[in-house]
Symmetry: C2
Amino acid sequence: MELIVQKFGGSSVADAEKIKAAAQRVAQSFRKGNQVVAVVSACGQTTDELFALAEEITDRPSTRELDMLVSTGEQMSIALMAMAIHALGHDAISFTGAQVGIVTDSQHTKARILKINTKKIKEELDRGKIVVVAGYQGVDAYNNITTLGRGGSDATAVALAALLKADLCEIFTDVDGIYTADPRIVPEARKLDRISYDELLELASLGAKVMQARSIEFAKRYNVPLRVRPCFNNSEGTTICQEVREMEENVVSGVTVTKDEAKVIIRGIPDRPGLAARIFREMAQSNVNVDMIIQNIGTHGQANITFTVPKAELDAAMEAVRKIQGEICAQEVSADSNVAKLSVVGIGMRSHCGIAEKMFHALAEEEINIQMISTSEIKISCIIDEAQAGRAAKAVHKAFGLERPGRPGS
Amino acid sequence: MELIVQKFGGSSVADAEKIKAAAQRVAQSFRKGNQVVAVVSACGQTTDELFALAEEITDRPSTRELDMLVSTGEQMSIALMAMAIHALGHDAISFTGAQVGIVTDSQHTKARILKINTKKIKEELDRGKIVVVAGYQGVDAYNNITTLGRGGSDATAVALAALLKADLCEIFTDVDGIYTADPRIVPEARKLDRISYDELLELASLGAKVMQARSIEFAKRYNVPLRVRPCFNNSEGTTICQEVREMEENVVSGVTVTKDEAKVIIRGIPDRPGLAARIFREMAQSNVNVDMIIQNIGTHGQANITFTVPKAELDAAMEAVRKIQGEICAQEVSADSNVAKLSVVGIGMRSHCGIAEKMFHALAEEEINIQMISTSEIKISCIIDEAQAGRAAKAVHKAFGLERPGRPGS
C-alpha cells in the first residue's frame, strides 16, 4: 500500500464534469489499494471572480479580508470533490487549510507554510477514507485564514507529501508533461520521461510555468518524488527526481524562450567604483527585479551597463535610471523591449564542455545576433531579438538533438 | 455606549452597492459611539447557486460536504462587508462561525447552537473594531463546519445579542416592519411600532415570514430587545419586546392569511377509542405535519375527522390515510386544497371577551363560511375557502379597526 498525494489545479476542476473526472483519477488510485490525499485548487476562474468582487467594493482591500474572501474558492472545490468521490462509492472527507492544521506565517496573500499537523489526515486515511485538502490556504498562529500566493496549491501538495512521507506526489495539470521546448514554438519538441529537480527549477524560473520554483525547491529538499501528469488523458507525464546516473547522458534537457523581459542600456558612465552599486540600489528601492546584468568598458575609459527587467517594470526602471542619470554622469539611457531570452538547461553541462559553443554556433548559423549572455551551472541564457526567438529556439533544439528520443542532448 | 447587533439578510447584501449601503448602516451606529457586531448572511442568491453546484455533482450530497460548500456564502459576504466598512474609514474584522467559536451540534444543514465563545468578539470590540460575523454557520465539537438551516442568520444574531448582553438586536430586512396584515391583501394594513414576542411568534408561524420562530423564542427567553427594520430606508421599523402595559390596549395586533395548507376529510369511522390515534400515528410515520384537527360525531354513532396538512405533504397524507382506510373502517376519504387559514393574533385577547364573536360576525356579514376553527391563548384561526381569503382578511382587519393608528384592535 502506497500513500499518494494528488494535486488538481484550477483547470482540472473547472466545472462539474471535470470535477467528476478528477474524482475518477482519485478513485482509480484508491482502488489499486493506495491511500490517497487529494489537494484541490479553486475551480477554474473562481479566484479571479472573487478578486473582481473585492474590486467592486474597494480598490484597496485589506489583505486579511482578501484571504477570507478568496479562500472560499478552494473550500467550494473540496466539498464538490468529496461529493464526487462519494458518488463513485468511496468514502471521502474534505478539510480546509485551517481544519487540517496548515499553519503559515501572517503574510496575507503570500503566506509561507510553517508547519502542518498531519495527525488528522493520518487518522482519516487509516479509517479508509480519501482525504481531500484545500490547496493554496492555511491559517496563521492567530487563527486568521491565509493564502499562499501563486502556485500555492502546489506548495500545499508538496509540503503534505513531504510530511506524510508520501511515496509519490502527482501534479495533475493541463499539459502533457515537461517538454524539451514549448511545442507551440518548436514543433519537434519531445516530452521528457524524467527530469531532475534542478533542471525543472531552471525551466520553471525561465517560464515553463508547470510548477512554481518554491514547490520544486521544497520537493528537492525533502526528496519528494514528483510526477507532472495531464488530467485529460492517462499519460504517465514526467517524473521529477534527484539527479540519477542515467541522466548524466542528457547534456541538455530543454530549450526555453521567454518574452517577458526588457533591456535597459546605460552608456558612457565614468569607470569608477560605486556607480553600478548606485544604479542597482535605485532599482531595488523602486521594487524593480533585475535579472541579467552586463558591464563592459567602452571607449575613453567609459563604461556601458546593460541589464534586463520584467517588461511590466520597465517604466519604473527607466524612471529610476533617469532620476540618477545626472548623479552617475551617464551620457545616454535607452530601453529595448523587443527582446527574448533563449536558454538551454541541462544537468550534464556540469561535466561536458562545448555546450555554449554549440549553442552560439547554432545561432550564428541562423545569423542571429546575441545581445547578452548569462550562465549558471546548468543553464546558458542569451538575450536576442524578439522577432528571431522562434527560429532561434528551433535551431538550438535541433543542434542538441532534442527531438530524438533515447539520449537527448548528448 | 451601547452594544448593538445588526443582522443583514441576503437581500440586504445582494450586490456590491447593497453591501456598501449596509456598511453605511453599520458605520452610522458606530459613529454614534456604539459598539457594533454585524451578522451577515450570504449575498442574495449565493446559497441557492451553491446548492445547484452540488446538484450538478450528485443528487444525494453528504450533508457534511453540503455545509462545507454553502458556508462559503457567508464567508464571502463577511469579507466583502469588512472591506466596505474599511472603505468608510473604520476598522473592522470578519470572523467565520468557526473562528468566532459558534459551537453547534452535529446535525449538518440544520444544526442548533450549543454555545458561543464571545471572548474574541469582546476583545476586538474593546480594541475599537467593528466585528463582522458570518451568520447561519458554526462548527461542531469535531471542528466540522455546520449550518443552522432556515433562518439561521437570525439565530446567530439573536444568540450573539443574548450572550453579549447587547442593548439591541436589529434585523435589517426587505420589509418596512411588522404590519397588521399583508399590505398586498389588505391595502389598509398599518405598520406596528411595537409588538410582543408572543404575538410575533404567532404571526411568524402563520406566515408573516419576517423571522423564524426559533429566533423569536430565543429572543423572548433571553429578553433580547429586537427591532425589525428595512435596509432600504431609515424607518425605525417595529420593536419587539416583552408584553408591556400599554400593549394590553391592543386586543388584536394583526390579521394573517396563509394558503399553504390543505384539508383532509375522513368520514364515517366507528366512534370508538384509538382510531384517531391510529390515524395520526400513521401521519407521523409518513413525516406529515398535521396542524388543525377537528373531530365531531356524525349520524348513526359514526364520527368524521378533518385535519389540515401542508399542501406539499397532501399526497403523502392521502397515501397514508388510504393505506389504513380499511383498518379504521372509514367510509369516505377526500381532500380539499382550495382552503386558506385566516387568523387574528393579539395579546389582549387574554383579557378581552368577544374577540371570536367579532371575527365570526365579520365573516358572516361577508357570507363567508367557516370550515374549521382553532384557537390558542392569543390567536383565533379559521379555515375558509381560498377564493374568499382576501375579502375575509379585509373584513376582519376592518372589524378590529386595525387601520386606525393609536389604539388598534380595541
